[in-house]
Symmetry: D3
Subunit: 137 residues, 6 copies
């Protein structure tokens, strides 16, 4: 049975501040620069959710990508869209809200909800000039 | 000799209906929803064709991507562009024309025609919000 | 009071056949070529809906673009998304479903529902290589 | 002498909250919904700056678009990039930071600095699904 | 009869050098900077060709955009694609090959060939960050 | 410790001619066609630079992507932007400036400068219709 990867994109907007609360202001500013603005800044994020599996001969689907979208909206997007990643999002508490830590949190949240397909890759765009990827390693 | 992957994009437009002809109307509607419209709907598809090989020292190419484009047009695109995937395309007969089944058919058709390069990945966009990938597994 | 134009994009997928039912098959084929496929083909459409007005000092909005989206979904998109423009869409009956005729129909449907803002331009993409615009003239 | 329009794009990221400080919380929530989050949210903005003029026969330019970029960076972008539009930006004080009010402020700031070309249009994208335009009326 | 604008995009790649041959090297370098490289540089250009007219009731078209594409390929693109705008293109001789002068030349070449539609706007992208427009004034 | 891949995009414009100087004009023309124009042509290139590593618990970063951008500008982009790849670029001497050979050169230049992160993939777009990738094999 051939194995196909199917990917759904979802989008959300959020504010954040990138800083380490255990550091001095000076060290934060030296390390994070304008991303350390205490009054926040924000982004339009795009998340690509890739799942893998064999193609079901009865449906021609690995998984209904409409289901992936619903799972992502319910488990993830409604908790972060139009939110402050530092203040409003329980699953980001205790981590610096970089794109790296956000993609890891997205993985922890989405992975249990996509059976029988397997989550195999997340690609998270923060601007049109940079993105991060995680594959569960 | 370093191994490089070279990718060419091709585009086509097609109509289709996603349904299982052995199922009842009710089950098709419950499973496929608006994609089951018996009067068809359609998409602009983009296919990314990735081939891999060593770089020929005489040409600097893995393969002339103009050749990849010609092969794709001749073997694939002219058979599916401005067509109905359910009715007009011999190589889709007997399969549900989901993006997954379409990418598998594209692989079977393109793989024999790209030597000495090796087809290593197809990525097929059906809308700007979802795509599927196949790598021959 | 300054006048600002605010634009919301909506997207839909549809099948169609471009042909003139009062013409012979030969003339249709000579005129419309592959767009005349009797088994249909289809597209991902993007519609840009531009409305104009003064900025309300109480809201900072010309109009809530969420409202524009809701109007467009209710009056337009749910009638054409995943549909056959020739067979399924009452407001396209009696017209050839070219992008030009589709944008004119979109104008007739949307214009009465956007007060107090004024609909001033529609831009309809049928592929990434062509689009049409209408401004009410 | 033919008149040509030349456009430069600039990009910035910012946080904001869309609300009217003279209204009750209930009215703000009913009017602005998730955009009213008191903990802010944010966007990647793209601004298209269009200037018009005759083509200088000595340079072939309406204006050096590198100059437009420098003006925009100096007068505008460094004051709003990675900032909070409600808290950090003097020229947004006293206005609700909607896309409409932001584009009007950008016009007031940029227009005096682009002679001998004339600023003729600003187009400001807040997400990939909506934008506003202002032409000085 | 409603008036609709229909736009076709075409793409080409070219090399150029932006400089004034009647000036000194120093003045050229001071004015044009890196665009003045005597060994050339180059771009992927995208040209949007907008024509206007009433919708033909027999075809639903302002003009067949396939015809616009053919005209553009024959009259314009094959003379500039994979060419040096300073050395290879007769209709650019005697002008500095800025985007402004190139769009004016495109207008002169295309306008006579698009009847009964009227050429009403050209939009020429030189990079993803800037473009010029001409409307015949 | 989870391993994340972080990618930064950079852009540059360049001229080139694709030909083998040890071949006859006829063989070059037969092999490389319009890319063999002796007067050059050019492109807007986009390079995606992907580095991999564990997420630093103190910063939330694999690596500061601002650093990746600075390294790329200093070591790579300023040597090729607005340049002729055949004539102006020391590290391209002796190779045919195809996208394949250019991506291999980019790897050799960037790889030593990205510790402690590891360069794991380069993706180089030459037009919107084709790109090459290299992963160090």
């Amino acid at each position: 049975m051939p194995i196909v990867t199917a990917t759904r994109l979802v989008r959300f907007n959020a504010a954040h501040r990138v800083y380490n609360p255990t550091w001095s202001d000076e060290r934060n500013q030296a390390t994070f620069g304008k991303c350390n603005n205490p009054n926040w800044h924000g982004h339009n994020y795009t998340l690509e959710i890739a799942v893998e599996g064999s193609v079901d001969p009865d449906t021609g689907y690995v998984i209904d990508l409409g289901t992936v979208k619903e799972v992502a909206e319910r488990e993830l997007v409604r908790h972060i869209d139009h939110k402050n990643l530092n203040l409003d999002v329980p699953f980001m508490q205790g981590t610096i809200p970089t794109t790296e830590n956000l993609v890891l949190a997205c993985w922890r949240i989405l992975a249990p909800h996509l059976q029988p397909a397997r989550l195999v890759r997340l690609k998270l765009w923060e601007t049109e000039n940079h993105y991060v990827e995680y594959d569960g390693r």
